[in-house]
Amino acid sequence: MSKRRIALAVVTAIAGLAAVGIVAANPVHHAEVHTQSWSFNGFFGSFDQAQLKRGHVIYKDVCAGCHSMNLLAYRDLQDIGYTEDEVKAFAAEVQVQDGPNDAGEMFERPGRPSDQFKAPFPNEQAARAGNNGALPPDLSLMAKSRAGAGFLGHDGADYIYSLMTLYKDPPAGVTVPEGMHYNEAFKGHQIAMPPPLSDGDVTLDEQAKDIAAFLTWAAEGNLEERHRTGIKAILFLVIFTLLVYAVKRKVWANVH
């Protein structure tokens, strides 16, 4: 009986794990994703602020030329270690439309920390017109809306890293249309975005990691708080459960 029970438990556990595996497993990939190790993964994972700042610079200098990041406000940058004054300075770099004023007219003013990141194009049509008909997607949630190779977190950071680093010359026999580029990480391997990063003072590899980390923060700014809260929750639950188990043993001691 006990052997049988163990066998049963094993079968149940395998079925359960298989089920979870199916659920969490990624869909079929036709594209490459290279897994990296990230400071924000794992039970105690947290962001590397220096890396986020480097990523922010790349975002500002490279990505923001074409991509919007509508869900973030300048004030959010204080989370990655900028002072209030630095954030004010970042915001003031752009002109934002406000109004109407008392005369009923719209006017331009320097950005404030409470403003959302200013989009590079006023609307989708303008964005397409400026990019050969392709629409550069908003980057606020990019790290969460793409599947990586990871088992549990979907690990969009891996996807972004791979996309940045896997621009290649097309293999023999594959022709890439005018205005398109060959990228092994992109579904279908043809992407309108030209290679955004290249080796410079900092290697392409490092830059790709930095921007992937920054975009992960942008998509999931609460990650550190989430991990910290989780540790507290688990500690509480462990103590709670042990205490209840002790009480349970005592209460049930006289039941036969």
């Binding site: 869909p27 549990l152 977190g153 459960t241 209840v244 039941v255």
Partner: protein
């Protein structure tokens, strides 16, 4: 049972006029419960706990959410980013749906194994199936609310199923949509119903518990309680046992919420709904996958929809399909095997629901590849020209087991799974009721224990079987 005497005079005063305290004392304190319930019996109270969690988190989320196609997606992100503890509420709610289904699935399979659906608990079982149906509808509507890509396309696919209904199908779909496509009116009615249905579920849960308390819980031996020696009061025995189970379960729940909050969902739903761009694979949430596989197994749209609904509705008549007088699977040597195959079958169906029907599963290489890739591989290995390889691959199985290039088309695997699912209920159970010889069931819950340990029941049963 005698009414309890309350020490507190205020409670005594109230109870004399409105006996809710006596009622609670009777139903939640002294309520006699079989003393041999194992941990599979924890999942009923866990399901109740999850319902409360969903209602409470959902209520607070609703205070911050805007049900409008232009604002829904951003209002959810606002909850995640700007509302105090909004991310926690939303992750609790979103993963809570999965936890609720995990708990309920275990609860259902526990009922299936231990025969909890049999007389006199048929109505109790049917109310449970009704709760499950309501949960499916509620979860579907909730998934539409963030208005991501999968919200939109999931809603489009599922509402379109109703167009298969003859004659009035299209009118039903128009009514569901509130227009001629999935749009703002659709989102609004989904929100209204998603808010309403949990309270309907709560009401049915109360009736479910009333039905439960009529005859009390079934138990692992599947035999009736024969008197006081077989039962213990619900409190403190099962309250404390349920609390212990709750602690373990909460750790599991916390793992998903705090370390893998998006693992059970589709990443595509973090993209704003776009009616002009269809996602490559429209896949429902994991808890619908087996039913999605059944739907896609049948080539005809109407019959597919009928089969999908039938796969749940069949549970309503289950008490009359399984006529075996023995409840617990423990004492049914043949049933047991078919039961575990059913569990496995549901996992297989889940798998089939997840992947594109025309792709191939390659068991030897643990891969899922699309038809083109598979054909190319067969052509490569066999040296056949591509057209010929295409014929060899055919509609059913792939070839070339020797090279490891054996593959099964997902839709065929799903059909086998569907076949077994229905056969279990319509053929296996009725036949087992006639042909299976169950082991001898213990006379009472306390007897085997008094006779020298829990094993005795089984030992006796075994010797009887040989005789």
């Amino acid at each position: 049972m005698a009414a309890p005497v309350f020490k507190n005079p205020v409670i005594r005063w109230i109870d004399h006029r409105l006996p809710i305290f006596s009622y609670l004392h009777h139903e939640a304190y002294e309520y006699p419960t079989p003393k041999n319930l194992n941990y599979w019996w924890n999942f009923g109270s866990l399901a109740g706990f999850m319902l409360i969690v969903m209602i409470v988190t959902g209520l607070i989320l609703a205070m911050q959410y805007t049900p409008h196609v232009d604002h829904a997606f951003n209002s959810v992100e606002r909850i995640m980013r700007d509302v105090n503890w909004g991310w926690l509420l939303r992750y609790l709610h979103m993963n809570g749906a999965s936890m609720f289904f995990i708990v309920v699935y275990i609860h259902i399979f526990r009922g299936l194994y231990f025969g909890s659906y049999k007389a006199p608990r048929e109505l109790l079982w049917q109310l449970g199936v009704l709760i499950y149906l309501l949960m499916m509808a509620t979860a579907f509507m909730g998934y539409v609310l963030p208005w991501g890509q999968m919200s939109f396309w999931g809603a489009t696919v599922i509402t379109n199923l109703f167009s298969a209904v003859p004659v009035i199908g299209d009118d039903i779909v128009t009514l569901l949509w509130g227009g001629f496509s999935v749009d703002n009116p659709t989102l609004n009615r989904m929100f209204a119903l998603h808010f309403l249905l949990p309270f309907v579920i709560l009401a049915v849960v109360i009736v479910h518990i009333m039905a439960l308390h009529r005859f009390g819980s079934n138990n692992p031996l599947g035999i009736d309680t024969k008197g006081q020696q077989d039962t213990i009061p619900f409190h403190p025995y099962y309250t404390v046992k349920d609390m212990f189970g709750l602690g373990i379960f909460m750790m599991f729940y916390a793992f998903w919420v705090f370390w893998a909050p998006n693992a059970l969902g589709d990443p595509v739903n973090y993209e704003l709904a776009n009616p002009l761009s269809t996602p490559e694979h429209i896949v429902p949430e994991w808890y619908y996958l087996p039913f999605y596989a059944i739907l896609r197994s049948i080539p005809d749209k109407l019959l597919g929809v009928v089969a999908m609904f039938a796969s749940i509705l069949i549970l309503f008549v289950l008490p009359w399909l399984d006529r075996s007088p023995v409840r617990a699977g423990t004492f049914r040597p043949v049933f047991k095997w078919f039961f575990w195959i059913l569990v496995f079958d549901c996992v297989v169906l889940m798998f089939c629901g997840k992947y594109a029907p025309e792709s191939y599963w390659m068991p030897f290489t643990f891969e899922i590849v699309d038809a083109d890739t598979f054909t190319a591989r067969v052509a490569e290995v066999s040296g056949m020209p591509h057209d010929q390889a295409l014929n060899a691959v055919g509609e059913m199985w792939g070839v070339n087991a020797a090279s490891g290039n054996f593959g099964i088309k997902i839709v065929r695997l799903g059909q086998l799974g569907t076949l077994y699912y229905f056969a279990y209920f319509l053929i296996v159970l009725p036949l087992l009721s006639i042909f299976e010889t169950p082991r001898q069931v213990p006379l009472s819950i306390s007897k085997p224990v008094l006779g020298g340990g829990k094993r005795v029941a089984h030992a006796t049963a075994k010797s009887m079987e040989k005789a």
